[in-house]
Structure formats: C-alpha cells, structure tokens
C-alpha cells in the first residue's frame, strides 16, 4: 500500500469552488431567460367567428387531408376513440394522447417557444390556465366552426366550450341501501365523517381547485342557506363567507386524498369495500359500475349540490403545422359523431344541437339544478386567485 502525497489538496477545495463560480457566472450570461415578458393582465385576444356563408367545409377537409395528420391531447383517455373515429371518417391520420392538463400546458408552452410544435390541438380542462396563460401568450388560439356557430351560444365561445362534464358525490349502494347517508354538504365537515370523505388531492387536480375557487365567488349564499337549514341557526364565521368556512372545515376533517379518481372510486365502491365512505369523483367512473362490479350511485338529495359541472375547452396550437387538420378536429368534436365518444357516461356538448348524453349516472337527473356550475366568464378570476385558494387549502389541511 502506498499513500500519495496529500500536500496539494490543501488548496484544492477553494480553487475548484472559484472555478465553479466562474463557470456559473459565464453560463448565467450565456443563458437566455426562460420566460418572456408578457403580463397576465394583458387583454385576452377576442374571438371572432368567420362568416358562415363564406366558410367551405369541403375546402377545409381538402386542406386538412393535404396536411396528412393531427395530434390531439386531452386529459381523458376517451380521446383515443375520438381520434380513431376522426381517422375513420376523414382518412387523416389522427392520434389521441391522454395527458394531465398541467403536463399538456407545459408541453404546449415549451413547444411553442421552441418553434417545434407536435401537439396540434387540445381538449383542455384547466380553464383558468387556458384563459390566464395559454391564450394571452398566444400559445394556443380559439377557433369556432362557422357553420356550427349558430348552435354555439355566446357564453360557450370564449374560449370554445367543447363539453361540460361533472364531478359528483357518490356513495356505496350496498352499504347504504336506503340512499345517500348525507343530506347536507356541511355533514361532510362533521366528526361523523372525519377520515371518510374521499377525493382527489385538489393540489394535483386543477378542476377541483377551480370548483373551490368558484364556490367562494358565487356559491356562498347557497352554502349559508343550507347551513341554516341543516344546523337550525345562522353560520358564524371569521372567514370571508360560508364557502371559505366550508372549505376550511372540509380540509380540517381529514379527507382521504387520492392521486386519481380510480382510487377514489375503489375506496368508495369496490366489491370488497366495507368502510362507509363518501367520494367526490368524475361521472366517467360510473362505467366501472358495470365493468368491475362496483356498487355506487350519485348522492341524490345532497344539498345544496350533488356535485359540480366543469368545462372542457377546445384550443389549437398557434404554431401548429397542421392548422387545417386541427380546425377539422375541433369541428369534429363539436358534432355529435365526434363528441359521443367522450359522453359515454354523461356530459353536455357546447353545441346546443348535440343532444345531451342519455348515460347520466343513477341519481343525476337534472344537470342544471343538481350541480354547481363552474362558469366560463370567471376563468380569469380563478387564474388570479388560484394561489390564494391553494394556500388556504394547504394551511387548513396541514
């Protein structure tokens, strides 16, 4: 064994550190900023609809065929079927990819900055980010099919609403054969249901955050009235309104948070499940009732709402290399034969001419009165207060 001299190591620690600092500084100068300088308060580009008379669908189809392909991103796996149907109808190669809306937004933005766009079109659930970021930064644009515009109400145009979906409170029908065990949303915040309310982690699910955010803006009165009815006395709260109070109490009531609706559904309604639970989940999960032998129903009679509806918007990448194919895809999902693949378990198209899905889950009978509606015109406000709501939830939950 030999031991080499250690004399020179005395200074070795400082010199690399100095060199490292030098390189860091040099690299700092060499790197371009990764964010550009547009503010969130800059006005949203307004959407105008091309004149229906001058619009020629066949010309669009021809142009789309020349482009050859289209890639669509969606947070629902149903997009694969939509793409297949699109390809079958028009002979244009179409691929549908399921991706969380946060990842989609990140990818869209990066691709746009790199001038190397692969995602042509997206059906996007995170309305606040769409309106607060993607549209004003010109990452995506809204296009409304002119020939269908007469059936697309103004409220559904900016941005283009493709499909309204819903999340509902559900219970296990085998454990509660007499119907939903809770009548008021306030019961979910009481000790009896501590650790028994199951929902996806709102910090990982933008639509849940959007729901909480909008509840604080236009759901407080209903919640306050319901409290009065449920408790027999008026709600006293130090928070801004009844909605903040409800969120605070729910967060503090040890809700079981999951990563995906699949887990929420299994926790509530799996065949071997014996624990009584209430879960907030997408109506899409009701297909598991047939497929996996799950036993559940919507919490009919829950006041003030049995759940909430939220919207999925259509947007085209601003620098898409297949702009016509992307437009045709948007056109396709605004018609019944396109969107029907996403309405297998309920949903309402943004196009009034498309009939509502007959497949609403048991217990959800009236979309308008039973559900709290997340409103498109509040998206920018949601975007601006997103962090406030997230922080509130985190502090009260932690």
């Amino acid at each position: 064994m030999r031991r080499h001299s250690t004399r020179s190591y005395q200074t070795a620690g400082r010199l690399p550190a100095m060199l490292l600092t030098g390189i860091v500084l040099a690299a700092a100068v060499a790197c371009a900023p990764s964010s550009n300088g547009v503010g969130a308060d800059s006005p949203l580009p307004t959407t105008s609809v091309q004149d229906a008379a001058s619009f020629d669908l066949n010309a669009l189809i021809e142009a789309a065929k020349k482009e050859g392909s289209v890639l669509a991103y969606d947070s629902s796996g149903d997009i694969v079927e939509v793409a297949k149907a699109f390809e079958a109808k028009y002979g244009i190669k179409a691929e549908g990819v399921k991706s969380k809306s946060g990842d989609t937004a990140e990818k869209l933005t990066r691709e746009n900055q790199a001038d190397n766009v692969t995602i042509d079109v997206t059906l996007f659930e995170d309305g606040p980010v769409l309106v607060g970021e993607l549209l004003p930064r010109n990452v995506v644009t809204t296009w409304i099919p002119p020939d269908l515009a007469k059936d697309i109400p103004d409220a559904n145009r900016d941005p283009l609403l493709v499909l309204s979906k819903a999340n509902v409170w559900a219970y296990n029908t085998k454990l509660f054969p007499n119907g939903c065990p809770v009548k008021s949303m306030w019961e979910l915040t009481e000790p009896a249901w501590s650790g028994k309310v199951v929902m996806q982690d709102p910090l990982g699910k933008p639509t849940l955050m959007q729901w909480l955010s909008q509840t604080t803006n236009h759901g407080a009165d209903s919640l306050a009235q319901d409290y009065q009815k449920h408790a027999g006395s008026a709600l006293r709260t130090s928070e801004q309104n009844a909605s903040w109070e409800w969120i605070k109490r729910l967060a503090a009531n040890k809700p079981v948070l999951t990563k995906a609706d699949e887990d929420t559904t299994a926790a509530v309604a799996a065949p071997q499940q014996k624990e009584p639970r209430i879960g907030l989940l997408s109506i899409a999960k009701f297909r598991d009732v047939a497929d996996k032998g799950y036993q559940m129903a919507v919490c009919e009679g829950l006041a003030p709402w049995v759940g909430f509806s939220y919207d999925k918007y259509g947007a085209i990448a601003a620098k898409s290399k297949h702009p016509n194919a992307a437009k045709l895809f948007i056109h396709f999902v605004m018609t019944q034969e396109g969107i029907v693949h996403e309405m297998g378990s309920g949903g309402i198209s943004g196009n009034k001419a498309v009939p509502a899905s007959p497949n609403n889950p048991p217990g959800l009978t009236n979309w308008d009165t039973q559900l709290f509606a997340v409103q498109s015109d509040q998206l920018l406000k949601d975007y601006q207060q997103a962090q406030t709501v997230q922080d509130f939830w985190r502090v009260k939950h932690g």
Binding site: L15, P16, G39, V80, T118, L203, Q272, A386
Partner: protein, 606 residues
C-alpha cells in the same frame, strides 16, 4: 518520460516537444475538454433553474408586485418565510433528511453485510446470491411502493383495501404510510448500490493487508477498524452519496406512500409546485435540492481527501481469502435468501398476482384470468383495448427503450472511465477536483427539473447545437448527462485503485496513450466498465421523470407506456408493463454480462 526525446532547439521544436508531451500524457487536455463539455451540459440547465427562482414568472406579477421578468425575492420569501413556508419547505426538508438518513442506514447495513457475505465468506451459493441480490435495483423503484400499498394499505387512503386489511388486520398509519415504508421500500431498492460498490472494493482489497495486520498482533476488530474500513471508506461514501442523491430526487415512491398522511419530501413538494404551475417556487425548491446536493459533495470531498488514494491494485501479487463461517454457513445462506425473497420475490409476486385477477385482492377461482396479458379484445379498456402482449405497442416501446437507453449507457460507461482516468491521473488537483464535482452534479438535480431545463435550453437552436426537441439525440443527451454520476463514480473508484505501475511499464516499452488505455486500462477495468455501462442502462430503462417530459407521442418508451396505462387506470396492464420492464432490464443485464464475460454481480462473486 524516457521515451520522449530531449527538447529540440527553436520555438518550432519546443512546440513539437510540448505537443508530444501532451499526447503521451493527455490527461490535462482531456480533463479540460471534459470539464468544458460537462459544465455546459450540466451547469447551463442549473443556471436556467436558478435564474427562474429570482425572476418574476408569468402570472405572478400582481402577487410579486413587479413586472414579469424583473428580479424579485418574492419566491424566496414564499418558500422560506411566508405562512405557507412550513408546508412548502420546512416540513419537507426535515422529512427528506429523516428519510435520506434512514435509507442510507438501512441500505448500508443491508448492502454492506450482504457484500461481505458474498465476497469475503464461504457462504454456500455465493454466485447465485451475488447475482440475485442485485435484482431489486432492476425493478422500477415504485414497484416496491405499489407492492407495499397492496399489502399494507389501510382505510387512510383511497383505492381497494390492502391484503392485510381485507384479511381483518388493521395496519396503523405509521406502518402503511410515511417515513417507515419509504425508508424500507427505498432501502430495499437502493441497497444493491452499496452491495456493488462495497463488494467491488472488498473483492479488490488484498487480504494480505488484513493478514499482515493480524500477524503484527492486531485483533480482528483492530484490523477491521484501522485497515479494512479506511480502505473501504471511498466506496462507502460513494454509495452513501449516490443513495442520498437519489432520495433527494425521487418522487414516485414518496408520492405514492406520502400523500395519505400528507408526508411530503422536497421532491414531492417540487413535483406539486410544478403541477400547480408555480414555476418560481419550483425553481427555488429545485435550487435548494441542488444546493443540498452540492453540500453533500463538498462533505464527501473533505472526507475522502483525508483518506484518498489508497492503491489496492498494484503491480504486485494479491490474495483473496474467504472467512470460514463454519456452522453459520447455512444460516447465512438463509439470511441472504431471505433478503432476496423480501426484496424481489414478494413485490414481484404481488404485482404478478394482481395482473391475473379481475379485482385485485380477491382470491376466488372465478376471479383469476389471463386476459390482461393475452386477450385480443378488452372492451372496457378504451385506450388500450387488448392484452399487453397483443398489438404492436409493447414491442415498439421495447425496441425504442433498448435502442435509446443502450446507446446512452454505452456512451456513459466510456465517459465514466475517462472521467475516472483523468481524476486519478491528472497532475492537477484543480482539474480532478472540478471534474469530480461537475460529473456528480446531475445526480442531485431531480429528473423532472432537469428535463424541464433541457427543454428550455435545447428546444431552440443554441450556437452550434440545433433545436433538439422531440429527437432521439436529446433523449440520449439527457440520459448520458443524468446517468454520468453512476459511471463516473464507478470509473473514479476503479481508477483510484489502479496503480500507475502497469501503465508505466507499457510506457517504458513505447506504448502510446491510446494503446495504453485500450490494452491495459480497459482490460483491467472491464469489470467496472461493465458496471459503468450496466448501471446507467438499468437506471435508464426504468427512468420515468425525464422521459415523460421529453419523449414525444411518436416515440413511446416502456416507462411511458406503463405510466400511460397507470393514468388510464388499467392497473392490471400497467403492473404487467412494470413486470415487462423488470424482465427486459434483467435480460439485457444478463446478456451484457455474458458478452463481456464480467459481471455487475461478479464484480462480487469472482
């Protein structure tokens, strides 16, 4: 330098002389080139991250009270001082330290004892154990977390109840979620690190050293303390560092096991920040993680500086004598086998059983099925309507994975050996120290942050580098850089032990630098070179956080395929895909070992 002619006269002659010196001993030149390349590839993305941390990000202009792009301390305040800071940073920080240290202790105890067992004792089935005990590292790390949940899950989280609960045993929260399962599952995943690095060092260590100490009157314990342990310290600290770095950057396991009790680590906090699109906060957290990593590296340097440069492979003869375990041979074998069963058989079997049942956890004859592997048509799985082995997706993804990961692993191994060569041979401590640090840095950057930074940097043309978004090149580049620490660690550790004598002998008879490298260094180091290729391969084939950001839809890899199946909620097919990853990883490792006739494991067995 006897082979080089005395300096010629005149500047031309001097230049020629200098060039010849440089070529015969080109470590300095190579070192400078390597540092330059790595600095750009490693530090540029880090700078991009850090600069995001102190600049107002899009959408935060109102909250930060400054316009987008201007400099701000808002994110620093938010992460370290605001009311939300304990949630964002402080709690995750303490949790990370707890889990990190726990995993290190667990893995060192387990890996160290197993390494000793298979390299220095006469335990039966040494070869088998040496190979079998490395297998846990070939499984994607979230395999363990998924299997743990399947077994121990209680009512505190969603999903179907765990096996234990459905058998009537209620598991307490501390056993089902949080620090304990994280330490155990990550420890089971990472102990092969210790086994490999420690085992290599143990095997190479000449047992004459220990025996000389004994002959001179040292007791067994004394010999262990003052001869064996100091010799093993470099490899021990390498292993410890690799593990801590990995724990800093991993989010799959903490996310799966931490959410139900809100037990978050820095990596999960970062992941959440990215997913709630708080890029400024994410940048601060990423910077903190990198900083912690750098601190660990500096600590390691100080530690190793004291103990550095023990040459255990010399030009002289060596001996490798095993300890006779006598009547403890079979119990020791049982112990090794037990570790194998717990770390490999149980998790794999749990997953395998789940792929052949309709409803996981229900053991009735009518609940068993092979359809998730073989069926031509599974109508309820809209996005993947057939068994995993049907259709072309699996095979396409498999080919992409092997091709891309294989290329990067080979590059990585060669680079690692070069790094080791320069670090060990360079006359300049500055160059060797800097190269050591720079080549280790990628390890401490969480994959997802790295991928994001690479997208920013190389998605657009930069100088001579064209836009790389969506290309195989970008994936290979990122994989090489992120996995460089494995191979450079292994290269450094190996080269530190290789004395100069064999090379000097060759130099005396006139061998040039390349010839020496190719005919002497590579053959002697082929074991560690193979390790330097295989470790990145195994790690790459199950890499998720990077490829999920960089792989485009047209280029599916095995991991993206499996995570898509997870996202769809097709648990059975997803678990089947994880099993396929494990099989591919295992098969390629096995074939590579046969081909190079030296092995990852035999780094242990002999």
């Amino acid at each position: 330098m006897s082979v080089i002619n005395p300096p010629a006269t005149g500047w031309r002659g001097k230049l020629r002389y200098r060039a010849r010196v440089l070529l015969s001993e080109p470590t300095t030149l190579i070192g400078v080139l390597l540092i330059g390349a790595f600095a750009y590839l490693v530090i540029a993305p880090l700078v991009a991250i850090v600069s995001d941390a102190v600049r107002v990000q899009y959408g935060d202009d109102l909250r930060a009270g400054a316009s987008v792009g201007s400099s701000t301390s808002y994110y620093l305040w938010r992460v370290f001082r605001s009311p939300i800071s304990s949630d964002l940073f402080w709690e995750p920080f303490w949790h990370t330290l707890t889990v990190g240290i726990g995993v290190i202790l667990f893995a060192v105890a387990l890996g160290g004892s197993m390494a000793w067992l298979v390299t220095r004792t006469n335990v039966p089935g040494r070869k088998f154990l040496a190979g079998a005990l490395v297998v846990p590292y070939m499984l994607p790390s979230w395999t363990f977390a998924l299997a743990w949940l399947t077994l121990f899950k209680n009512g505190g989280s969603g999903g179907t109840p765990g096996y234990l609960e459905s058998w009537g045993v209620t598991t307490p929260n501390w056993l089902a979620y949080g620090a304990v399962p994280m330490i155990v599952t990550l420890g089971l995943h990472y102990y092969p690190f210790v086994l490999l690095l420690f085992g290599n060092a143990l095997r190479r260590m000449d047992s004459q050293l220990e025996e000389s100490a004994r002959v001179l009157g040292a007791s067994r314990g004394q010999a262990m303390r003052s001869v064996v342990l100091p010799l093993l310290l470099p490899s021990l600290s390498s292993a410890t560092l690799l593990i801590f770095g990995r724990v800093l950057g991993t989010f799959g396991t903490p996310y799966i096991l931490g959410l139900p009790t809100d037990y978050s680590l820095l990596s999960t906090s970062l992941y959440r920040s990215i997913h709630t699109r708080s890029s400024g906060v994410a940048a601060v957290l990423a910077a903190v993680i990198v900083l912690l990593g750098v601190l660990v590296v500096l600590f390691d340097m100080r530690l190793v500086r004291e103990q550095r440069r023990f040459v255990t492979i010399g030009g002289k003869g060596g001996m490798d004598r095993a300890t006779d375990l006598r009547r403890w041979r079979w119990p020791a074998y049982g112990l090794g086998l037990g570790v194998f069963v717990v770390s490999v058989v149980v998790p794999l079997l749990t997953l395998l059983i789940s792929t052949v049942t309709h409803t996981p956890g229900v053991f009735r004859a009518d609940n068993f099925t092979l359809r998730f592997w073989l069926a031509a048509d599974i109508p309820e799985a809209v996005g993947f309507p057939h068994g995993l082995l049907r259709g072309g997706e699996l095979y396409e993804a498999m080919w992409n994975s092997v091709r891309i990961v294989g290329t990067s692993a080979l590059l990585c191994g060669l680079l690692g050996l070069l790094v080791g060569y320069v670090v060990a041979r360079s006359g300049s401590p500055r160059i060797s120290g800097l190269l050591r640090q720079v080549s280790f840095l990628p390890y401490l950057v969480p994959g997802i942050a790295f991928a994001a930074a690479y997208l920013t940097l190389f998605a657009v043309p930069r100088g001579p580098i064209p836009a790389l978004y969506g290309t195989v090149t970008l994936l290979v580049l990122v994989m090489v850089v992120t996995h460089l620490p494995y191979s450079s660690r292994s290269g450094i550790a190996a080269m530190m032990q290789l004395g100069k004598e064999p090379e000097e002998a060759a130099q005396v008879v006139g061998a040039g630098w390349f010839r020496r490298l190719w005919r002497i260094v590579v053959p002697i180091q082929k074991g560690s070179l193979a390790t330097g290729v295989i470790l990145p391969f195994i790690s790459g084939i199950k890499e998720l956080s990077i490829v999920i950001m960089l792989a485009t839809a047209g280029m599916p890899l095995l991991t993206t395929l499996s995570i898509h199946l997870v996202d769809y909620g097709y648990t059975q097919q997803a678990n089947a895909a994880v099993l396929v990853i494990a099989v591919v990883s295992f098969a390629v490792t096995y074939l590579a070992q046969r081909a190079t006739r030296s092995s990852l494991a035999s780094g242990l067995g002999g």
